[in-house]
């Protein structure tokens, strides 16, 4: 049995010696494929992956900062600190001061313009 195991081990060793034989024409075929794929991809409009988009704004930490700043902005917009003017109230009060009647339009305003 030991002899048979040795024979098998010898056959494995021979097979390992042969495994690095790689046909040259196969390498050429594979590289030709790679070039075709590369050229086809570069001919298309480059599409950014999500990963590239995140990298463009500074990676995950940049994205986290952006989200935090956006959330803070929204919060300040709706619940302004007392020392800042409330933008919501500002716009509402401005709108209230301008009424359509104040524009004083009459039926002849087009004629007046002429």
């Amino acid at each position: 049995m030991a002899d048979q195991d040795n024979q098998l081990d010898q056959l494995f060793a021979q097979a390992r010696e042969a495994r690095d034989v790689f046909p040259d024409d196969l390498a050429v075929r594979i590289e030709t494929d790679a070039e075709a794929v590369r050229l086809a991809r570069s001919a298309k409009t480059p599409r950014r992956t999500w990963r590239q988009r995140i990298d463009a704004i500074g990676g995950w930490s940049g994205l986290g900062g952006l989200v935090a700043a956006s959330a803070a902005g929204v919060w300040i917009g709706f619940s302004a600190p007392t020392f800042l003017p409330d933008p919501v109230e500002y716009f509402v009060s401005q709108e209230a001061t301008y009424l359509m009647a104040d524009l004083n339009l009459d039926e002849n305003y087009l004629e007046d313009a002429e």
């Binding site: 098998l8 390992r16 495994r19 075929r29 594979i30 794929v37 570069s42």
Partner: protein, 204 residues
């Protein structure tokens, strides 16, 4: 085989080894449009895919086609590869093995019809089989193993991969790999012992 893992450079009379980029880094470079990266990846990974395909199929032309297709899938998926999810070689071995299984399934229905009848005066089918088996007794024995045993034995004893990587490639536990390789080796030993007489080897 050229050693691709070290390329000593010389600066001011001193030589130092520039660390080679990883397979993943090269794939990223290829996805970014670097054609030279594809050449290095072909040199590194092509022979590994081809070696496994050749042992699984026992046919050079089919092994070449499978390797070309496996590498084509590599080029196409390059932009989608998520670094760190697995080794690139693990992915390639798995694709190669799956392609081999698919090809064997397609061939099986008409495999017997393709055996040519010997012409008068030509070597008989038995003689041809004996010649082929003598050339590579291991291959002849491997082809008698079930697919999963053969995959495990080839990856372990010819590709010399560690069991955890084989487990990843075959999507099974390390214990299952050990079981498959042990059974595979036992079967190979039995096949080789039983066929010595058939092959015309002398006892001794």
């Amino acid at each position: 085989m050229e050693d691709l893992t070290s390329h000593p450079n010389t600066v001011h009379g001193r030589s130092y080894a520039v660390p080679e980029p990883s397979d993943e880094a090269l794939l990223g470079q290829f996805a970014d449009g670097d054609g030279a990266a594809a050449r290095v990846l072909t040199e590194r990974l092509g022979p590994r895919s081809y070696s496994v395909a050749l042992r699984m199929l026992g046919n050079q032309a089919e092994a070449e086609d499978v390797t070309q297709e496996a590498m084509m899938r590599l080029w196409k998926m390059a932009p989608k590869w998520v670094p760190g999810q697995a080794q690139l070689s693990t992915w390639l071995y798995r694709v190669t093995l799956n392609l081999c299984v698919d090809l064997r399934r397609k061939k099986r229905p008409d495999a017997l019809e393709n055996v040519a009848e010997p012409a008068d005066g030509a070597a008989s089918v038995v003689d041809q089989m004996q010649d082929a088996a003598r050339k590579d007794a291991l291959q002849a024995a491997l082809e008698q193993l079930p697919d999963r045993q053969r995959q495990a034995v080839v990856l372990r004893h010819i590709e010399e991969l560690p069991n955890p990587e084989i487990a990843g490639i075959m999507d099974i536990s390390v214990e299952a790999v050990e079981s498959l390789t042990a059974r595979g080796k036992r079967s190979l030993t039995a096949i080789l012992a039983g066929r010595r007489d058939e092959l015309g080897y002398e006892h001794g």
